[in-house]
Amino acid sequence: MSVKPNVLILRAPGTNCDHETAFAFERAGGAPQSVHINQLLESPDLVREFQILCIPGGFSYGDDIAAGRILASQLKGDLASVIGEFHGQEKLILGICNGFQVLIKSGFLLPPDEEGLPATLSWNDSGRFVDRWVHLKTDSKKCYFLDGAENLYLPIAHAEGKFVARHETVLDALQDGQQLALKYCNPDGQNGHVAYPHNPNGSQRHVAGVCDVSGRILGLMPHPERHIESTHHPQWTRRETGGQADGLIIFENAIRFFN
């Protein structure tokens, strides 16, 4: 039997999906532990005890100023070197919703060039928070978290999830590099033209999740931890028998990576 990988669930003031995200990792065979950002800032070396770093959803620091901004600035400050080292050691980093916002704004996911950060997550076109289920299609062979996944059905719940790149060329490069790993798609599972509400926030190229160059960091707006039971599916009562729970694969892939 293999050893359970240790998962650091990073918690900050306003993080609120830590509990169920830990539960999802546990369900997938991991050993999650919730760690407060203050504790990590005090002893950054703590990170070394873990194989997976997960920044869960929520409203870190109230999403004041901009979503994920303050936690991002803390991470790229005193924690930059330990996180860099962590990533360099063939370990995994996952950011869900607010965690995605933090990863992109800290530059860990898409490092800045001379012009600054190449992309960000901005306000939904609707201008407000929305909770709804979306159809997703994977588009990357390099992202370890999405290995073997093709179409997923997951809920989103955010106000600032519109993926915006600085230039078209940034998008092209990310697409060529298979980094635009997860995209909103139509209910039939196809991309093509994906109109609102199927693309719920107006993301460029319908991007719902992005991985880094290595494929070992994934940030995504949808909440896989909210679809790990058949009764999470909004239409489960329509099914004759229990169905699959699409979100679990992301956590299982992360655990399998170390087994």
Binding site: N16, D64, A80, S122
Partner: protein, 990 residues
């Protein structure tokens, strides 16, 4: 990361001149101007010209010993999103900030008033400090450039759209500030109030001058208490008594003596609530004996019942009406924040697992000219309230799973905002007991002038001058402060670090400490309380309703561990006193006694309120029989689906996170496109367990216009049947009451309330559904002077009783939703249909006032609910929907479009059996009814089980229309798409 060198402050910050930097951030070219767009969306409601143009930007004022490079660095590192935004920076007052274009000559800045909570500024201040910059203060602002307007229009724009003057100020033209005001130092002076020598009229003058909302008898009682002591009260003593004796805190009317007269004679109540609602619970618990599943009812901040072997659940629903009328966003914000602290402060602390929200507004299409002076447009109130609940609930990470919105013109001056919260707590943490000599510890937010006189204000009538006189009663919440508080509270609870906890709600410290120390005594050191800014008097500290604070009773040996835990998560914890076993409440400021009251006088000294209540039934007039064509029936069902009350609330629901915490089972919107109206929500509060909670509500103010007894009975039945419809066990449903009424000093108004309470007793007993918690809000009336005629008018809300229900689902895998599942299945009407068009939506549509209002026959209904539950347990039911507003016709339509399947039913046998007309049968709102879909293979078993209660009306068909016939005649036919569109479009807002 930017060059680390630069982030270090050069030298001692004290040496550097403090500068007020202004940073303005706007969307880059091609990016939407969200702020302006939101405001323009509301501009038309207020009669502003269509061609109004507006450009907005957000900004920060940052005060500190910073040079320009540092200010730029702060902007770029923290404040600006360079991919989508641009910014300008300068000293506050720099001329370039005041430049305007010819197209947009108007320039307005909107800033929070000094002392009003500014969460974003607080976060920014902390983050800038963490980066190492010497910053003293931060304030946020919004800047607007507007096209030319007439002075009157400009006034509307500034005061009704851009800013709310109870929390914000508008500066026309450029900002010319030199510093951010942080309050003036407080000069201590002990204030005594002349009381013991005053006559009655002078006593009432004192009550008014100090906004105490105390009656003459109460003032006389206070006068006597102090006369016996041989001294005058201090202001703090008077304020403490006013808070403790307020209607809001003590429910003196409903828990008081009432002499009630109706058609059956006169009945004397010593304590009306105790003899009706509480009494039902007591009787039910006694009858259950060993099987009693109530744990703590009407004692703590929320009612507690058993959940499983390990956990209990607490449920509380609060009203937060008055503040929401003045500042909808802040009012709703603090409403939800407050009720969350109620469950957090129940027992030794319950973990909030889901919220409910119910609102009552005037119709959103109310014409501007029909609004009384001094009230906000209902559409704006509704938007603000929804946003307030959204921003607070979502940030707290608590799913908002259930709710309702009701519309009636009489809510125009008094919108109602009900916020509910359910929490989970370990069985052995369900009771609290502060101990003598425990420290009184305050944690969470700091104390400011927020919400002074909230408790007494919410017990008084609103007037058109309220928005001028009561601004101090409005508070803004900071959800993250409360989330941090919650995080440490739950850890401290599990480590047994305290003996008792309660929240600071209305009355602030005064009610929290007063309640906790009631049986012991307390000494409070007011100067120790951490303040948001200088300048608060001892009394202001004592009665401030600043949000996000809770008070703990911590033993001296646990204090250090408690303090360390709080500190580890950046939560401020302060000892502000001690529960000294004196029986006295003693307040000190810098060692000087500023109040010294006997706890006994505070809690038991209030003279009983004695009220008269009269109920006189208005004779019911029959609705004349009408023959309606199929086309008329179709128009009626479309109109009812499109009426404000029935129409889809997806615009509201989708703004709430209803799935956070990962326990969602039945969502508020269900069906093949996730957009049908579910009857109740189901959540699993313990992730490893399949046991669920069902949450629902019932309310129908229109029935109250006919008979408040039947209104209350119907609301209870509706809440319970909604729970049963999704699979809750009818044997274990707890209910909560929230009475919102008009001016109950009037015997007729109080009479309708007592009559409703009598129904509560009867139904609770009949359904064996105990009340576990409740709250009332009285005197919901709005008075104004008509500007044309000069006449004084008063608008009373309709008598409004909200019943919230919490059911339990042993195995969520057996839950049922309301969307039709499959063509070929049978469709059954369960329950009895009578001629109940009185108060129905069909009558509302046709402006018909008479008719018989729906009644409840609880014995039959209870049997029916048990059988239906049994059939669900046996997996005989594919879908189930309760019949409520709009009756059978609306339920059929909703089930059909939610499942995207057609329906064919025939009413001929039913009409013959009941003697009802087609219209009566289709639109009657008889209680205790469901439509149930059953698979052919299960129909025999279902019929055998339900017996007489169920009648087969027809079946599900693979067509896109609903067809109702009567023999050979089609009496109602409509396409699914038409039905759905009628239902979705009214509130399909941008």
């Amino acid at each position: 990361m930017a060059d680390a060198e630069k982030t270090q402050p050069a030298g001692d910050p004290q040496e550097r001149e403090s500068i007020l930097w202004q940073i303005e951030i706007s969307p880059d070219a091609g990016q939407p101007d969200r702020l302006a767009r939101n405001i323009l969306a509301d501009a038309r409601d207020l009669g502003l010209p269509e061609q109004l143009q507006l450009v907005a930007c957000r900004g920060f004022l940052i005060q500190g010993g910073l040079d320009r490079d540092q200010a730029v660095e702060i902007a770029e590192m923290l404040l600006v999103e360079p991919v989508v935004e641009k910014y300008t920076i300068g000293r506050c007052g720099d001329s370039h900030f005041g430049e305007v274009s010819k197209e947009l000559p108007g320039l307005f800045y909107v800033l929070p008033l000094a002392g009003v909570t500014d969460p974003e500024a607080e976060s920014a201040l902390e983050a800038i400090r963490q980066l190492g910059f010497p910053v003293e203060a931060v304030r946020t602002f919004c800047k607007y450039s507007a096209s030319g307007l007439e002075p009157e229009q400009q006034d509307i724009l500034c005061n009704k759209l851009l800013a709310n003057d109870s929390i914000e100020q508008v500066v026309s033209g450029p900002l010319q500030l030199t510093e951010i005001q942080l309050g003036q130092p407080y000069q201590f002076a002990l204030l005594e109030v002349e009381l013991i020598d005053q006559d009655d009229s002078q006593l009432m003058q004192v009550s008014r001058d100090w906004q105490l909302s105390l009656t003459l008898v109460e003032m006389q009682t206070i006068q006597k208490y102090f006369a016996d002591l041989g001294r005058n009260p201090t202001d703090a003593e008077l304020e403490t008594l006013a808070q403790t004796w307020s209607e809001h805190c003590s429910h003196k009317t409903l828990a008081g003596r009432i002499s009630y007269t109706d058609e059956q004679g006169t009945r004397q109540f010593e304590n009306m609530l105790k003899e009706t609602i509480f009494a039902a619970t007591v009787e039910i618990r006694q009858a259950l004996g060993d099987r009693d599943w109530c744990v703590s009812v009407f004692e703590d901040n929320a009612g507690i019942v058993k959940f499983d072997d390990e956990f209990n659940v607490a449920f509380k629903v609060e009203t937060h009406n008055r503040p929401s009328a003045l500042e909808p966003y802040g009012g709703a914000n603090t409403g939800i924040g407050g009720v969350i602290r109620d469950t957090l402060g129940t027992g030794l602390g319950a973990k909030p697992v889901c919220s409910t929200d119910v609102f009552c507004f005037a119709p959103p299409d109310t014409k501007l000219e029909d609004l009384p002076p001094g009230v906000m447009h209902p559409r704006r109130i509704m938007k603000g309230v929804v946003e307030g609940v959204r921003d607070y609930g979502n940030r707290m990470g608590i799913p908002t799973v259930n709710g309702a919105v009701y519309f009636d013109a009489r809510y125009v001056g008094n919108p109602l905002v009900f916020c509910g919260n359910i929490g989970l707590l370990p069985d052995d943490k369900s009771f609290k007991k502060p101990l003598a000599n425990d420290l009184i510890v305050s944690i969470g937010g700091r104390t400011g002038r927020d919400g002074i006189h909230g408790a007494t204000f919410s017990s008084a009538e609103l007037t058109d001058a309220s928005d001028i006189t009561s601004g101090g009663a409005v508070q803004i919440g900071n959800a993250i402060t409360e989330k941090m508080l919650m995080d440490v509270l739950l850890q401290a609870r599990d480590r047994n670090l305290y003996n008792a906890v309660t929240d600071c709600g209305a009355g602030g410290f005064s009610s929290a400490v007063g309640e906790m120390g009631e049986k012991i005594g307390a000494e409070v050191w007011l100067d120790k309380a951490p303040l948001k800014y200088e300048g608060l008097s001892y009394t202001e500290i004592w009665i401030s309703e600043a949000q996000e604070r809770m008070v703990f009773s911590v033993s001296e040996e646990n204090w250090e561990a408690f303090r360390e835990l709080c500190e580890s998560e950046s939560v401020e914890a302060t000892v502000i006193g001690q529960f000294k076993p004196t029986g006295q409440l003693t307040l000190k400021y810098n060692e000087l006694v500023v109040a010294d009251l006997a706890m006994e006088f505070m809690h038991d000294g209030r003279p009983p309120v004695v009220r008269q209540a009269v109920y006189q039934a208005s004779p019911a007039s029959a609705i004349p029989a009408m023959s309606r064509t199929a086309e008329q029936n179709r128009e009626d069902v479309l109109a009812i689906l499109g009426s404000w009350n029935v129409a889809s609330k997806h615009w509201v629901i989708r703004q709430y996170d209803h799935e956070v915490q990962g326990g969602s089972v039945i969502k508020p919107l269900v069906g093949v496109q996730n957009d049908g109206p579910g009857d109740a929500a189901v959540v699993r509060p313990v992730l490893k367990s399949q046991r669920g909670l069902a949450v629902s509500c019932g309310m129908n103010p229109y029935y109250g216009d006919h008979d408040p007894y039947h209104m209350a009975a119907s609301a209870i039945d509706e809440a319970i049947r909604n729970c049963v419809a999704v699979g809750a066990d009818p044997a274990q449903i707890a209910i909560l009451d929230n009475f919102c009424w008009g001016y109950t000093d009037r015997p007729e108004t109080l009479g309708t309330l007592v009559r409703a309470a009598l129904a509560c007793y009867d139904m609770s007993i009949a359904y064996q559904a105990p009340f576990i918690s409740g709250k009332d809000s009285l005197n919901n009336e709005f008075s104004y002077t008509d500007p044309q005629s000069g006449e004084r008018h008063t608008i009373s809300i309709p008598s409004t009783l909200l019943i919230s229900a919490m059911g339990q689902v042993p195995d969520v895998g057996r839950c049922v939703t309301m969307d039709l599942k499959k063509a070929g299945n049978g469709l059954y009407l369960v329950g009895t249909t009578g001629n109940h068009l009185g108060g129905s939506h069909w009558s509302l549509l046709h402006r018909i006032e008479g008719g018989q209002v729906p009644t409840v026959e609880p014995q039959g209904a209870r049997e029916l609910y048990n059988l239906l539950h049994e059939s669900m347990n046996g997996s005989l039911v594919r879908s189930c929907h309760d019949l409520s507003e709009g009756g059978l016709a609306v339920a059929l339509a909703e089930m059909a479009f939610a499942g995207h399947l057609g329906v064919e039913v025939d009413l001929q046998d039913e009409l013959e059996a009941t003697g009802l007309s087609v219209t009566e049968y289709l639109f009657s709102e008889s209680n205790s009814r469901f439509l149930v879909e059953v698979e052919p293979a299960q129909e025999a078993a279902f019929q055998a089980l339900l017996g007489e209660h169920a009648r087969r009306l027809g079946g599900v068909v693979a067509l896109d229309e609903v067809t109702v016939s009567c023999g050979n005649e089609t009496v109602l036919q409509s396409k699914l798409s038409d039905l759905k569109q009628a239902w979705q479009s009214p509130l399909d807002w941008e």
